[in-house]
Symmetry: C2
Subunit: 150 residues, 2 copies
Amino acid sequence: MLPRWELLNEVEARGVRLTAQSRALIATIQETTTHLDAASLLNLARKRNPKIDRATVYRTIELLKKLGMIDELDLMHLNGEKHYYEVKIQQEHLHLACFECGQILEFATPVFERLKQEIAAANQFEIHVTRLELGGLCSACTAKKKVRVQ
Amino acid sequence: MLPRWELLNEVEARGVRLTAQSRALIATIQETTTHLDAASLLNLARKRNPKIDRATVYRTIELLKKLGMIDELDLMHLNGEKHYYEVKIQQEHLHLACFECGQILEFATPVFERLKQEIAAANQFEIHVTRLELGGLCSACTAKKKVRVQ
DNA sequence: GTATTTGCAAAAGCTTTGCTGCAAC
DNA sequence: GTTGCAGCAAAGCTTTTGCAAATAC
């Protein structure tokens, strides 16, 4: 795993004061390695602090987004319109969503970095956030499909 | 402008029967060059056929998506959670969304094609849909920011 | 004591769905 | 006469917001 933000330390290092609730939420995001949506995050964080409210979840997510410490994903809207969150890691990566089995693959390559540089240069665009998502069939589901066709 | 689907012809060529309503909707999508959301599409299409309903808009969009003739965009959710639609063109391109002025830039480059090939090969993934969106500041807004800072 | 942040509940925004009736062949 | 699509209205899902009460310092 590539280096991720140490969320709690980083946030407080920036002078933001945290309450018990947002601390529980941030700790939950930190230790969870799957892609969390707001509802799942709420459920998990309530194990640490049962009185957390939905509104606090969204407000904490908003904070972490503003600080640039988490990324918001759509994951091709495979399961409705909700958003997913992940701690930013140093190396930008992309998400492959399988329409068949719902699996999410992550992939990083230097070509992506180069592409970003080209985009920024060609358009004089200052890139803050990147979201590259691809939908299709993972290798397992492609294989299954071929069997079916034969 | 790169070649786009001739939506009406193409859809009917695939044996789909269209009603006056979906025909009006598809014609509207065809001739509109900006990124349309469902509500704007409805408003525009009603000029051709005033009795179109919202549900028909969504059902027609669904059809075109399934046929792979339009792409669905989020445009970094600059204006809420709605989706935007555009007729697919042969060359894949990406969208740059300016957080400051809301402008959407489009950009195409062979590097993106190469990246997709690499992704497909490395993951044995059959890519059906691609969504690359970048958020940040366009050149004008970057310039303004610099002036302010000086 | 003052300034924030929370919880609650309600609203908002966008999309989907069930059902009845209309339309197409 | 069947089959299916449209319109309508309601519901659904996720996110946002206003406000009074609670919390942090």
